[in-house]
């Protein structure tokens, strides 16, 4: 699947044999608490997620094991995809708000000087 020739894996899925699609452990490479914790928070806010957690298997290796267990037969990639999308939307909104406020602040600083 992943890792043909020299390509390094970015995301792998590990699933127990016989388990349904709702319980999957994703291995995210080159990631740490920065994405792990924020993604965990966004996915925990989803209603049909039974369990969501991440672990850093060893501090010398930069990869995280991210486990999602869902309820009601939802495949685990669904909450993962939604969590990533929601996190992107949140960041976009934070970016827009921040830039608007900075421009406002800078303009307010220039005006009293005139």
């Amino acid at each position: 699947m992943a890792g043909e020739g020299e390509k390094k894996p970015v995301l792998e899925m590990v699933q127990a044999d016989g388990a349904d699609e709702g319980c999957v452990t994703f291995v995210l490479h080159d990631e740490d608490h920065t994405l792990g914790n924020s993604l965990r928070y966004m996915i925990m806010k989803t209603v049909d997620v039974d369990f969501c957690g991440y672990t850093i298997t060893h501090p010398s290796e930069s990869k995280i094991n991210f486990r999602i267990q869902t309820r009601g037969g939802v495949p685990a990639t669904e909450p993962l995809r939604r969590g990533l999308k929601d996190l992107t939307e949140v960041s976009q909104h934070v970016l827009n708000t921040f830039q608007a406020r900075v421009n406002e602040f800078k303009k307010r600083q220039e005006d009293p000087m005139e």
């Binding site: 699947m1 992943a2 970015v10 995301l11 899925m13 995210l28 990631e31 740490d32 608490h33 920065t34 994405l35 914790n37 924020s38 993604l39 965990r40 928070y41 966004m42 925990m44 806010k45 989803t46 209603v47 990639t77 993962l80 995809r81 990533l84 999308k85 929601d86 996190l87 992107t88 939307e89 949140v90 960041s91 976009q92 909104h93 934070v94 970016l95 708000t97 921040f98 830039q99 406020r101 900075v102 406002e104 602040f105 800078k106 600083q109």
Partner: protein
């Protein structure tokens, strides 16, 4: 005087600083935890409650408030500011002549830590695989700098002076002596902007007559995760907004002592019907030293807490990029990380 919050609200929104520990530290507002509360992720609710207030912003520091976001995302921004926003820094040091007293490797280490004022967004990362093949590097990913300085005796010094500033010329090597050598089309691209170290007065080495340094340096783009010299911030930190509630009226001499337990400007004494009464004026200034808990008669009159979703960020830049640009870049890095996994999920190799 103090409106008591219902217990549930307090657990959901505040971290309480008790006498022996801090309670309710973790966010618990996940769906199913509290009956009667709908805690599922709601973008509209987030858009309504989220706000940013800039407190001050100058060319090197910035203080701003981020309200209505969870600690995990605020922490992600802080971690990215420290370790994943790229900058340019000296990486390869070619020492042609070093007769100073500073060892080669120590000198190279010191040079790497000098912040270089070059916008990292205009450069690319150097390809890791071609290290042995091309040691030159191209104009799109490398900045070449030179340090060539020789110390000599000052012929015009007076006979019996002992001040090295008078006796020797060029005996202190400062970062202002580092000059830029444009390669390729860099001279045109950076026509109106000279690439140089951010600060001119960083002392790199000390020389005596006869000693010289002849060094060529290559700067590359990197991130703080790789080496701390690439970190664009002197520091980036946040704290939660403190909240001080007086549970009873405090007057007279106790009010004076209460005022001294907190940082200056937090508690004010005002005159109510002839008695001095303590009032909380600005709890933001408090450093939460919890001094009040050390006094047995005062500790039960006050409740110390922190708002769990109100972050007071302080970003101090090293001068390479202004702090508001740094925060913008950090948010973009987080979005890039999410995009990377989204595209990996959608790619055909995942079934």
């Amino acid at each position: 005087m103090a409106a008591t919050m219902s217990n549930v609200e307090e657990i959901r929104t505040r971290a309480v600083l008790g006498e022996f520990g801090v309670k309710n530290v973790h966010s618990s507002d996940f769906p199913g935890n509290y009956p009667g509360y709908d805690d599922a992720w709601n973008m509209q609710k987030f858009l309504k409650n989220f706000r940013i207030d800039i407190v001050n912003l100058d060319e090197n520091t910035m203080e701003f408030d981020m309200v209505g976001i969870d600690a995990s995302i605020a922490n992600a921004f802080r971690r990215i500011l420290l370790a994943e926003v790229p900058t340019m820094a000296i990486e390869k040091v070619f020492i042609y002549n070093n007769t100073s007293i500073v060892q080669d490797e120590v000198l190279a280490h010191r040079l790497g830590l000098v912040p270089i004022k070059a916008d990292p967004r205009l450069f690319e990362y150097r390809n890791a695989g071609e290290e042995s093949a091309e040691e030159e590097g191209s104009e799109i990913d490398t900045i070449q700098l030179q340090l060539k300085i020789k110390c000599s005796r000052n012929p015009r010094a007076t006979k019996d002076s002992s001040d090295p500033r008078e006796l020797y010329l060029n005996h202190m090597v400062y970062s202002s002596d580092i000059t830029w050598v444009p390669i390729g089309n860099q001279a045109d691209v950076f026509a109106d902007f000279v690439i140089r170290p951010v600060h001119d007065d960083i002392l790199i080495a000390k020389l005596r007559p006869g000693q010289e340094l002849d060094i060529i340096m290559h700067c590359v783009k990197g991130i703080g995760k790789d080496h701390a010299k690439f970190s664009p911030v002197a520091t980036a930190s946040y704290r939660l907004l403190p909240e001080i509630t007086l549970l009873e009226t405090v007057e007279g001499e106790k009010a004076e002592r209460l005022k001294r337990c907190f940082s200056r400007g937090v508690i004010d004494i005002e005159d109510v019907n002839g008695t001095n009464v303590a009032k909380v004026v600005n709890s933001r200034l408090d450093t939460c030293s919890r001094e009040v808990i050390r006094h047995d008669d005062l500790k039960n009159l006050v409740k110390l807490a922190r708002l769990r979703d109100h972050f007071i960020f302080t970003v101090e830049s090293t001068g390479i990029l202004p702090p508001d640009v740094l925060v913008t870049e950090a948010i973009k890095v987080l979005m890039t990380k999410c995009q990377r996994f989204l595209s990996e999920l959608d790619s055909p190799s995942m079934e």
